[in-house]
Amino acid sequence: MQIALEARNLVKRYPGVVAVNDVSFKVREGICFGLLGPNGAGKTTTVEIIEGVTPATAGEVYYFGELAGRRFREEAGIQFQNTALQDYLTVRETLEMFQKLYDRHADLDRVIEDCSLGELLERDNRKLSGGQRQRLFLAVALVNAPRLVFLDEPTTGLDPQARRNFWTLVQRIQAQGTTIILTTHYMDEAHVLCDEIAIMDEGQVIASGAPDDLLRSRYEGLVIELPVDDISGELDGIDHVVYDNQGIVEIMSTDVSQSLEALAPRVVNLNRIKIRQPNLEDLFLDLTGHSLRS
């Protein structure tokens, strides 16, 4: 598979702050690549440098082997985290206006269908709900039949149902062979959608690879979760215990039966115990020492 995009040693400095600190990664064609991290990690700045809307202090971006330029602008589709559309235009007018800015054209009917905008075409942009706006922003990013699509925190602010609908939409776009670069601070979203990820913290990439590979290389076994309030004694003798700031104790166990046996005498209420696979949030916590939501 070809390398669709490569970021090389990107740096962005603001007075007193290094927002992006020597970030490099490669994105293969056709995959969904996730750039993960908490708010303020430097994800959006990194992506905006790649998109060409924020100038880098240093570093280069390559698109299919050549420095990103005119061809990149023509072939990339971008959904920004914070953006606006023109007031008083309908959904259809907005899509048509953006499509006319490109030489490449997608089949607009197909885009409208993919993004479930059929019933909203004559609606004023200002009268769309959050989920509808996000679908319109995505449709705007698709009007040029992009080979590469950037989705910057696309589900922030959406309700759970709208988020899941959006995931289905993204999977449908990827299935058409489009490369996707997704930035998100939702680890479940990344796990569902991304073939490869890069985790960022404080402007740097601290881990990268396929999500399952990263988890397998780091963890063996399962996570047992229980509320701190349900523990009656000390947890001495039990390995890999983590107290998070939500009042939950997490125990990494390679033998769940043995761990539960050891826990039973010290737990007042077994009903609230949860057993789950380690996830990207655990990985992030391990790598940085702080939670994604902290």
Partner: protein, 340 residues
């Protein structure tokens, strides 16, 4: 409830105080305005009437007639009689007086001329013998004929400056420009689109207002509609270009509003929208020449009232074109899509 109101009150104050550009502007604007007005209308306060005195000498001897001692009247020496007649006819002078043979000329369609004439006649009784009123040859030009280009030009100015400058700043602030930047659209393409859009809208509106007043009030049109249309097009482009230049980098709507006011108000005062600056000093008249609106109004009035041809107004048209090119070049050079 008061707690919430207070919280919002404090937050808004902080926002305003931390927006240094806007803060500086809010302090500077009144200062500039006060000093500017003091400069333009300095001395003993703003003169109410402008009276031309036909004489060869460049200085007016106030002792030759009591009328010349009247306060709040600007007396301007006029050497060329025909020039004086034209200025009275075009409302640039309220009255023209020749004390040597005790004659005066007034435009019967000028309300200001009427009052200036009353003042002259009142002061004249003390000398003995009434001054003789003389006719100006040709049709008198009504005030509405004279002021119509001013109103159309002012409307064009506000529509172009605020309709483009303010909107571009809003686009930049809400991220719409950033969204456009992520497309193959170039800044020059965006600017041209804005100019073209506003040009079309302003021309339609201006044409509508002109035609309505022309048919209802039977306003004067001595020149060619083609030339007038050309004045409107070139003038509109210069105004839109100026709006784009102002909006090239500004990210705050409040600052943009301030800057646009700073440009539009002096233009409105000094370019001769409502009254002629005939009696103003040469420095003020020179300053007015840097404003596009001055050239738009001079050209439009020349075409509409004097039947001027394109050749006659060529200097103003060239000046407007040069100003437009300069504004567009600087606007494109300094234009930025986002707040960074």
């Amino acid at each position: 409830m008061l707690k919430r109101i207070y919280a919002v009150f404090v937050a808004r104050n902080r926002e305003f105080l931390r927006d240094r550009g806007t803060l500086a502007w809010n302090i500077l604007m009144p200062v500039i305005l006060v000093f500017g007005l003091a400069f333009v209308f300095g001395g003993e306060g703003r003169n109410q009437y402008t009276v031309g005195v036909l004489q060869a000498a460049p200085e007016i001897d106030a002792g030759q007639h009591p009328f010349l001692e009247s306060r709040f009247i600007e007396f301007v020496p006029i050497a060329d009689q025909e020039d004086g007649f034209r200025k009275v006819a075009r409302h640039r002078l309220d009255l023209l007086v020749r004390f040597g043979d005790r004659r005066y000329w007034v435009n019967p369609e000028s309300p200001r001329g009427y009052f200036a004439e009353r003042l002259l006649l009142q002061s004249d009784t003390t000398v003995g013998g009434q001054m003789q009123k003389a006719q100006i040859s040709g049709d008198p030009i009504r005030y509405v004929d004279w002021v119509l280009p001013g109103i159309l030009g002012m409307n064009m100015m506000f529509s172009c400056l605020f309709g483009v400058g303010y909107v571009v700043v809003r686009y930049r602030k809400n991220g719409f420009l950033k969204r456009l930047r992520a497309t193959p659209l170039q800044p020059s393409e965006f600017i041209v689109a804005q100019v073209a859009s506003r040009l079309l809208l302003v021309l339609i509106v201006t044409a509508f207002v002109y035609l309505a007043t022309h048919f209802i009030l039977d306003t004067r049109m001595d020149g060619s509609y083609f030339t007038l249309c050309l004045v409107a097009i070139v003038g509109c482009i210069s105004m839109v270009s100026l709006g784009l230049l102002i909006a090239a980098r500004v990210t705050s709507e409040e600052l943009a509003g301030g800057l646009l006011n700073m440009i539009s108000w002096p233009m409105m005062i000094l370019s001769g929208v409502w009254f002629s600056l005939e009696g103003a000093g040469p420095a003020v008249q020179g300053l007015a020449k840097i404003f596009p609106l001055t050239h738009i109004l001079d050209s439009a009035r020349a075409v509409m009232l004097d039947g001027a041809t394109l050749v006659d107004i060529a200097p103003s048209m060239i000046m407007l074109t040069l100003l437009s090119l300069a504004f567009l070049a600087l606007g494109a050079r300094y234009f930025r899509w986002g707040p960074d």
